[in-house]
């Protein structure tokens, strides 16, 4: 008896559509996202401009795609840094335990004690803003949460029978960790990647909203929201289209992450 996992399906579809749109945006947008057109400024959504235009006459749909691309790129790189480093640290500490585990986890605790966005803002005010600095700062800040999840999984799996069995065959610790345990915790890892992805999108948007993040000329959903705030009543479509786009992107990945967790529980 197989129960259909609708959370996973809907989440997967929404996320896939959003990513596809953004990828499409990298090769083709209806208008040049930065082209100014004085005659067409502040237009409400219509067929020619799906999301309308801003007060410089720039096509908002094109700009949202452009901003989505920045968010996606930052989120992807952040999760890659946090996920890979976190997995390596978490698997080592979880599998071996002992002193290294204690030291790394206490360090982890102290980093986790501060809200990520606060730490990110502090780092940015020290090192400066810009796409790549944001990626690096967020990536490093994401390591602890991944490390903690992976550590828990490895600590649980290491005493399982199949691990003992691999060890009696003479498998070394790295073989046991990465050929045997890692594939067994893959679902958990994937769902935390999906959730981490969301957190990264939100963190980047939040920082850009506070103009501590991505700087012009790079478009960013967060900065667009900050601009839209000023004309919330005269051009509501600006905030609505940008906001909805971000909500859909995040919703897709949250559902995907949640669906993967449900999948794991059913196994």
């Amino acid at each position: 008896m197989k129960r259909r996992n609708w959370t996973l399906r809907i989440g997967g579809c929404v996320a896939a559509v959003m990513v596809a749109l953004i990828l499409l945006g990298t090769v083709w947008t209806p208008y040049d996202p930065n082209a100014l057109a004085g005659a067409e400024k502040s237009m409400a959504p219509c067929l020619a401009h799906l999301f309308g235009t801003d007060n410089f006459g720039r096509d908002l749909f094109s700009r949202v795609l452009e901003g989505g691309r920045t968010s996606l790129l930052i989120a992807f790189c952040t999760v890659a840094i946090g996920g890979v480093c976190g997995t390596v640290i978490g698997s080592l500490t979880g599998y071996f335990g002992g002193l290294v585990d204690e030291v790394l986890m206490r360090f982890n605790d102290s980093v986790s004690a501060f809200p990520n966005i606060l730490l990110a803002l502090v780092c940015v005010s020290i090192f400066g803003t810009g796409k790549y600095k944001i990626i690096l700062v967020l990536g490093v800040l994401f390591i602890p949460s991944f490390a903690r999840i992976v550590r828990g999984e490895f600590a649980r799996e290491r005493s399982r029978d199949y691990v003992e069995n691999a060890r009696i065959m003479g498998a070394g610790p790295f073989r046991v960790m990465f050929a045997h345990i890692l594939p067994n915790v893959k679902t958990v890892l994937l769902s935390s990647v999906a959730i981490g992805f969301n957190n990264a999108v939100l963190a980047e948007a939040g920082m850009s909203f506070l103009s501590m993040g991505v700087q012009p000329p790079d478009a960013s959903l967060g900065r667009m929201l900050a601009e839209a705030q000023g004309s919330l009543f005269t051009m509501p479509w600006y905030a609505l289209s940008t906001g909805c786009f971000m909500v859909l992107l995040i919703l897709g990945f949250s559902l995907l992450g949640q669906g993967l967790q449900e999948q794991e529980r059913e196994l």
């Binding site: 399982r160 199949y162 003992e164 069995n165 009696i168 065959m169 070394g172 073989r175 594939p183």
Partner: protein, 260 residues
């Protein structure tokens, strides 16, 4: 030949004082011999097996000598032990349902010992794995080779485990209650299979069980363990017909007999 001399396994108790699970036992396993260790839970039989396999839990302290063909395994480093594990000493666990990696195809797990210890290429490994699966009397081995563990029955999994254990041609196969989790018919088949592998491959087997009937059926010689000591050892026939120790007598008396 395996010689175990004065083996002690101790665990720290709550106060940190060492508490001995195995209290200085000595025995030998001859080439091609099936030695049975029998005893109740907590008698130290599983800790003895794990010590032989180099798999004692981290917090355990293990002392004594374990000689494999005259070479002491105790002073070896972890890396050196890994060269013995799987190649010279293999082990089959009690639970076939959980002892195979659920995410890896059965064939790959059967040939894993070869992947670790030899430089054979993929095709050569597959040939040997298929042969090993045939040796444990699985049918349709090409299909089994490609399956995942959850697609096999308990008996098939235990056979696959045994195939993975014997593929490297070990001198000693340690079987820790390998039939306990299986139903009686499959149990009989696995015992028959172990006997056959012992005769055909000349491999020594250390068979651990709490079931005296199983020991009597399969083993040549047996040790009775109680509270970390060996209370009696000898040929199976002799121990069963003429037990010397009181504990052994009680054990034998507790075997259910058929009533008509």
């Amino acid at each position: 030949m395996i010689e175990v001399k004065n083996l002690r396994v101790a665990f720290p108790d709550k106060a940190g004082k060492p508490e001995q699970a195995v209290k200085g036992i000595s025995f030998t396993i001859g080439d091609g011999e099936i030695l049975g260790i029998v005893g109740e839970s907590g008698s130290g039989k599983t800790q003895t097996a794990l010590a032989l396999a180099g798999l004692s839990p981290r917090k355990a302290s293990v002392e004594g000598e374990i000689l494999l063909d005259g070479r002491d395994l105790m002073p070896l480093s972890r890396e050196e032990i890994r060269n013995v594990q799987g190649k010279d000493i293999a082990m089959v666990f009690q639970e076939p349902m959980t002892s195979l990696d659920p995410t890896m195809r059965v064939g790959r797990q059967v040939e894993e010992v070869l992947e670790i210890h030899t430089k054979l290429d993929k095709n050569a490994r597959q040939e040997l794995a298929l042969q090993a699966l045939r040796d444990v009397e699985l049918r349709d081995v090409e299909t089994v080779y490609r399956k995942y563990p959850h697609e096999l029955s308990g008996g098939q999994r235990q056979r696959a485990m045994i195939a993975g254990a014997i593929i490297g041609g070990p001198k000693l196969l340690i079987a820790d209650e390998p039939t306990t989790a299986l139903d009686v018919t499959i149990q009989a088949e696995i015992l028959y299979l172990l006997g056959k592998l012992n005769r055909e491959k000349g491999m020594s087997i250390l068979f651990i069980s709490h079931d005296l009937r199983v020991i009597r059926r399969l083993c040549h010689r047996t040790l009775v363990m109680h509270g970390g000591h060996i209370v009696e050892q000898g040929d199976v026939g002799q121990v069963f017909q003429d037990p010397q120790d009181d504990y052994t007598k009680t054990l034998i008396a507790s075997i259910p007999t058929r009533r008509y």
